[in-house]
């Protein structure tokens, strides 16, 4: 039995490395699709605008993808480094799933990204477009496998336990487990949406600043991003609601924790709570009366939300993280929906590119998707505690034989590194955006104009 300090520090380390890693795919999956689309349009129409868009977003995508790869390498080894017992127990199931992710998706991305980023002028445009689509397909496939592996831990099925290991019995049920059916579309939409907010925010910034050289690109990208958002946001709220209901049925403690109730007599909807875990009650809560029961589809307002006291004390997740993770996701989602809706209305009124207040608001919304994804994963992972494989393997029993000093040292190293890295990454994005896209020649000029611009 490992010391509680090692478990706690290992959990922190895993949480920090996982959240840090997640911020990169949250951008690059959607950006890879955008890059593939604009490059294909460029190849088909020859319109230079799309090449300009491709080259501009490629700069951010390249660095984001590289950082995502190295941060992902950390995750691969952490399973064994910190969670040796877990690794041994679930290796036959989760290890295989992640192995398939690496061989089918990760290699695909990594193999073609060199072509996509450095292939300009070396390979034919059609091959470049194919490479871009392959990278985009790889990132989406990657999302699929990872969500399959994680969903299995949320709702394990299709296995048999023997010699302290989970042994696979039915691969179809393991890979396409019930939780996967809800969580995969939710996450897939989330990564597309978060990239769209990022693209929309950066484009809006150019329009707010009236940077003439970047305006055509900014309008094009803003129109694309808001178009995607207008379609996907309502779908995402619907799918997200389905996921929450599913989790409420399969992991009741998670729902009890993220709704912020201890006793099961609240028909309101909590906006703020200050939970007291030891005494099992809220020191303070702010709620909208009856809304909780309306959300639970009882318009009469009498249905109450189940509370965490229904769950035995040693199986309760932390209400703090689950509640505020969920609120971060949900409230941001409402803002995102409202903004996307406003975008549709403005477009119909032909004011999309000339509404300074809306554009300034969009700049603020740049990180909205990433915030929501982070919040959502915090709910998903901390809400499952104290289990690492829900109902089967406790997190406290999953840790490796390590000394506290070792884990403290590595945790400090990662925190230091990741804080620096986030700062460098943010500065890189800001600088790239400020530098703007390369110049688009004005008018259908004579052939010597491009050379004049280079000089």
């Amino acid at each position: 039995m490992a010391s509680p300090a090692v478990v706690e520090l290992s959990r922190w380390q895993f949480a920090i490395t996982a959240i840090f890693h997640m911020t990169f795919p949250a951008l690059t999956v959607g950006l890879s699709v955008l890059l593939a689309v604009v490059y294909t349009v460029h190849v088909r129409t020859g319109n230079p605008l799309y090449l300009q868009i491709f080259r501009f977003w490629k700069k951010i995508f390249a660095v984001g993808f590289g950082l995502g790869v190295v941060a992902g390498t950390v995750m691969t080894f952490e399973f064994g480094l910190n969670w040796g017992t877990y690794a041994h127990a679930v290796g036959p199931v989760v290890g295989v799933t992640i192995g398939m992710e690496v061989i089918t998706a990760f290699f695909l991305e990594a193999g073609f990204i060199g072509l996509m980023l450095y292939g300009d002028g070396r390979i034919r445009p059609r091959t470049m477009a194919l490479a871009s689509w392959t990278v985009a397909f790889g990132t989406l496939l990657s999302t699929t496998w990872i969500l399959s592996a994680n969903s299995w831990m949320q709702d394990p099925v299709g296995y048999r336990k023997a010699d302290g290991q989970f042994q696979a019995e039915d691969w179809a049920r393991i890979l396409f487990n019930p939780a996967f059916a809800h969580r995969f579309p939710h996450m897939l939409l989330a990564v597309l949406i978060s990239a769209a907010w990022f693209v929309a925010g950066v484009s809006a910034w150019y329009l707010v600043k009236r940077r003439a050289s970047a305006e055509p690109m900014a309008r094009r990208c803003l129109s694309l991003a808001l178009g995607v958002l207008g379609v996907l946001m309502p779908v995402q709220l619907y799918v997200g609601d389905g996921t929450a209901v599913f989790m409420g049925e399969h992991q009741p403690p998670k729902l009890e924790a993220f709704e912020g109730n201890w006793t099961s007599d609240n028909n309101g909807y909590n906006l703020l709570v200050v939970p007291d875990t030891d005494r099992g009650e809220n020191r303070f809560h702010l709620a909208i009366p009856r809304l909780g029961s309306v959300i639970a589809q009882d318009l009469g307002g009498t249905r109450t939300t189940p509370g965490l006291l229904q769950t035995p004390a040693d199986e309760r997740p932390s209400m703090w993280t689950a509640f505020y993770g969920f609120r971060a996701m949900y409230f941001t989602a409402l803002l995102m929906f409202g903004t996307a809706f406003a975008g549709v209305v403005l477009r119909m009124r032909r004011r999309l590119f000339d509404s300074p207040r809306f554009l300034r608001w969009l700049v603020w919304m740049t990180p909205a998707g990433i915030i929501a994804i982070t919040g959502g994963w915090i709910v998903a992972e901390t809400g499952r505690q104290p289990w690492v494989v829900y109902g089967q393997l406790r997190t406290a029993d999953a840790v490796s034989h390590l000394s506290t000093a070792e884990v403290a040292a590595s945790l400090a190293g990662f925190v230091l590194l990741y804080v620096t890295l986030l700062a460098v990454w943010a500065r890189y994005i800001v600088r790239t955006v400020k530098a703007g896209p390369e110049a688009l020649p004005a008018g259908p000029a004579s052939p010597d104009v491009p050379e004049a611009r280079v000089a």
Binding site: G46, L67, A162, G338
Partner: protein
């Protein structure tokens, strides 16, 4: 038998990793000794392929986890600190490389970070290798050692050896990829590294034999034949590399060095099989159950030809000497002028309209949220479809209109302020 297939997969990916990432770590370390313009060039040579090369390390990790979970679970905690060090160095290396590449010109800080982190990655890998070869401290099949078990003279020797091997691969790769080094210089550097690698291989092999109380079972004829065969191939490849450094064709030294590394690895495997975790944990004890082995071996095995094929295609696309990328400007756009959108006019009814729109928005948000209990089963999907389709239609119509209005064309006389 399947567990041997998983073992072979681990070995294969490890070999691919050592050969491929070996050269780019080596190029990174060599860049520390190079001048500014060469450093940038070295970074760009690595930048086209490092993602793909590093994938093999991830594959080693996950195949080990999925196929031999027992080994994965006891080996990794035993080398916790050096492995964490390696991961941190890998991150720094990727950061230095990508930002240097994105900067578009030579930046001393990023170049030094890339080179220094390459060295750190190699040293950490050497320490891990040493610790794995010596064997972790086990009790009841689980790791039970201390935090600093990995630190031993043997581990330090391994680190030194690995640095030399990677430098050798880097030098051979550079002969293939650049024209910067003179023939005599390549020959001198390559041959001295080759000599160093040979000496280190002897020292490490002999030290391992004496360090480990269990003598290797070289009296078994098959094992002995395989081992000495691998040694002979390595020696022959070494001789080819010795001859090839500083002489055309330029790809020969790297091919020889790669063969040398691979046969060295195979020799080591021939010595130890079926033991995967020294001194005594065998592949049968650590393997995952049959169902997982089957899925893994079939899945990875079927994908492997494709993976190799497109990796070879990618290498093929960047074959030959490194050239600085051609600076091709964006070609000129078609002619169109933009008519500006009509200016906004103040309207007393604006407030009313906004309130109505807000209410509509809240209602629209409530629809997909499934708020309207009784008819929710029907209204949810329908509401979502209606909203989504309306947004899609607005998008398509608006986009066409804006394109016709020239919103997406470059304004004539646009000035660059970047």
């Amino acid at each position: 038998m399947l567990e041997y297939a998983a073992y072979a997969l681990v070995l294969f990916s490890l070999g691919m990793y050592v050969v491929l990432d070996g050269y780019d770590l080596g190029v990174g370390m060599l860049s520390l000794a190079a001048g500014p313009e060469r450093r940038r060039e070295y970074g760009e040579i690595v930048a086209t392929a490092w993602d793909a090369n590093e994938s093999w390390l991830i594959l080693v990790g996950v195949v080990l986890w999925a196929g031999l979970p027992g080994a994965y679970a006891v080996l990794l905690p035993g080398v916790y600190l050096p492995l964490i060090g390696m991961l941190i160095a890998i991150i720094l290396r990727g950061l230095g490389l990508e930002l240097h590449s994105a900067a578009g010109r030579y930046r001393r800080g990023w170049a030094l970070l890339f080179g220094g982190a390459s060295l750190a990655v190699t040293v950490c890998q050497g320490l891990v290798l040493g610790a794995v070869l010596t064997g972790p401290h086990l009790r009841n099949g689980a790791f039970d050692g201390g935090a600093l078990d990995w630190f031993s003279p043997y581990g330090v020797l391994c680190a030194l050896g690995l640095v030399i091997v990677h430098l050798l691969a880097g030098a051979a790769w550079l002969q293939d990829k650049t024209e910067g080094w003179s023939r005599s210089r390549v020959r001198r550097v390559g041959r001295s590294l080759l000599l160093g690698a040979g000496v280190m291989a002897l020292v490490l092999g002999l030290a391992l034999r004496s360090a480990d109380p269990q003598q290797f079972p070289l009296h078994q004829p098959v094992r002995a034949v395989l081992f000495w065969l691998a040694v002979a191939v390595a020696a022959a490849a070494g001789a080819v590399a010795w001859y090839g450094f500083g002489r055309g064709p330029d790809w020969r030294p790297f091919a020889a060095v790669a063969t040398m590394t691979a046969s060295g690895l195979l020799g080591l495997a021939a010595l130890t099989v079926p033991v995967v975790v020294p001194p005594g944990l065998t592949v049968h004890q650590v393997a995952s159950p049959h169902s997982s082995q089957l899925f893994l071996v079939l899945g990875v095995g079927l994908c492997m030809p494709f993976v190799l094929a497109y990796n070879i295609y990618a290498w093929h696309s960047f074959r030959g000497k490194y050239r600085a990328p051609v600076d091709s400007p964006v070609p000129p756009p078609p002619a169109r002028t933009r008519t500006p959108a009509p200016a906004a006019t103040g309207d007393p009814r604006t407030l009313v309209r906004r309130v109505l729109l807000t209410v509509l928005g809240v209602l629209a948000a409530a629809l997909p949220q499934d708020v309207f209990g009784g008819v929710s089963a029907l209204i949810g999907p329908i509401g979502v479809t209606v909203l989504g389709c309306a947004a899609l239609a607005a998008w398509i119509v608006g986009d066409h209109r804006d394109a016709r209005a020239g919103c997406f064309d470059a304004d004539t006389g646009a000035e660059t302020r970047s």
